[in-house]
């Protein structure tokens, strides 16, 4: 089979996603303001209360703002992944999902293209956020900014695949509020994004156990280590595995004969 048409398909889907993102300036602004508020307000306020003792991968004692940055990077991707899940529901209601799915390319490939497209959008957001954080004074080694790129692709695909999977369950747009409450908040708060796991364990053993099982914790740790030019093999392994499993389930969910699409039937008529 010739390769070029496949690449054109990927380029088309990614290009459309980026163009749409550029046109939605308010979405871009919201995606940036959210983590920046956490960084400037929440973290700055907690700096006094919460010094973070030496913990991997950091070489010294660090300020709380420094600790929280990788978690906020994960938060950007988490919100973006869920937002793209929202846009899948929206797309399906508006019918443009149909345009994607009547392409002659196999459905799994179309969904992978869609996933990569939303991940790249989140990577753009992350780098803009890191640039602002750097200007504010929270800097990682220069090479770290390159190291995190593959980590961001994995974590972006992980939350994106989760979003895809959710979009097969969610039928209406209004359900995004439900996703916020039942997916984004628990995943974010019950993870190592805001506090190191050892500190969570001091507070509550149950919370610690949930956070240790939360795949988002491992995505954040993967990013955290990469930012300081370190490899956290366990986090990478878990993140990649979870991504593949979620993606497989999402593809199954969009299978026309077996998945949930079939059960829902067509809109209209």
């Amino acid at each position: 089979m010739r390769l070029m048409p496949w690449l054109h398909c990927l380029r088309g889907v990614v290009g459309r996603e980026l163009l749409r993102f550029l046109h939605q300036r308010s979405r871009f602004l919201a995606a940036l303001v959210r983590p920046l508020v956490w960084l400037f307000v929440f973290a700055a306020g907690f700096r006094m209360a919460l010094g973070v003792a030496m913990t991997e991968p950091y070489q010294t004692y660090i300020l709380y703002e420094v600790y929280i940055v990788p978690g906020l990077v994960g938060m950007i991707q988490l919100f973006n992944g869920m937002q793209s899940s929202l846009s899948m529901v929206y797309d399906r209601e508006m019918g443009s999902m149909r345009v994607l799915l009547v392409s002659p390319f196999p459905r799994w490939y179309l969904l992978v293209c869609k996933l990569l497209a939303s991940t790249l959008v989140s990577v753009v957001q992350v780098y803009v956020f890191l640039a602002i954080a750097g200007w504010y004074g929270i800097q990682a080694p220069l090479a770290g900014y390159l190291w995190i790129l593959p980590a961001l692709l994995v974590s972006g695909c992980m939350v994106g695949a989760l979003g895809l999977l959710l979009s097969t369950f969610v039928r209406q747009l209004e359900n995004f509020a439900g996703i916020m409450n039942f997916v984004i908040f628990p995943m974010f708060f019950l993870s190592s994004a805001l506090y190191p796991l050892w500190r969570l364990r001091e507070g509550s053993h149950l919370v610690y156990q949930i956070a240790a099982l939360n795949p988002f914790t491992h995505a954040v740790e993967m990013i955290r280590f990469a930012l300081y030019e370190r490899v956290n093999g366990e986090a990478i392994l878990i993140s990649v595995t979870v991504t593949l499993v979620l993606l497989g389930l999402a593809i199954l969910g969009y299978n026309p004969s077996r998945g949930l699409m079939a059960r829902k039937g067509g809109a209209g008529d």
Binding site: M4, H8, G95, R98, F105, P256, G268
Partner: protein, 255 residues
Amino acid sequence: MSDVSAHDGGEPALEVRELSFAYAGTPVLDAVSLAIAAGEFAVLLGPNGAGKTTLFSLITRLHDRRRGEIRIGGFDVRRQAVQAHARIGVVFQQPTLDLDLNVAQNLAYHGALHGMGPGEARRRGEAQLTRVGLAELRRRRVRRLSGGQRRRVEIARGLLHEPRLLLLDEPTVGLDVASRRDLVEHAHRLCAEEGVAVLWATHLIDEVRPGDRVLVLHRGRLLADSTAEALTARLGVATLGEAFDRLVGEDAPCV
């Protein structure tokens, strides 16, 4: 109707055999069989809820938990999905253009989804836009187009990959009389000049023109399949409207 009929080895552009589909236990389509030759214009006439959109969803394989067989140009939509899909162009009932992108960007996206490079998509896009009379608007955002113009862009998009079968699902919804007439005429020209087979779903009887083949779908069953003239003659009535009322009963009149 044109005499072009030898595409894809003389296979019908669309062949549906004994197609049945149930949604949540309720039958939506019941043993529907039909065939449309290359270059043929067929109107799928049925009241709302007759199963028209479901039929289209099954042909385009948006879902396919069903019984029966569907072939596009001889290719089975399940087993030879790639070849079958490449031969279908669709204009969906709901608008599906990206409103914030311009006309050319929308077409380029569709071209990419069919594996075309940017240059090829642009060339074909320009040709199709010229055909629907929108060449000078290719840089305009879709949001700023009228309803009729948007529909024409969707038709241009549906034809970008040169399908042998064009499905239109109530394409005139929300359009004024002049735009509707233009669209019907345009679709007929496509059949005559390009040999594209067109299946035009509607609940509007006045969109049927003399000589058109009419397929009457009601409650998931195909009640008639002949030209409008043959249908009225068979039922001994004066107009297609009366023929339709006779077929589906008074409970679901078309307008």
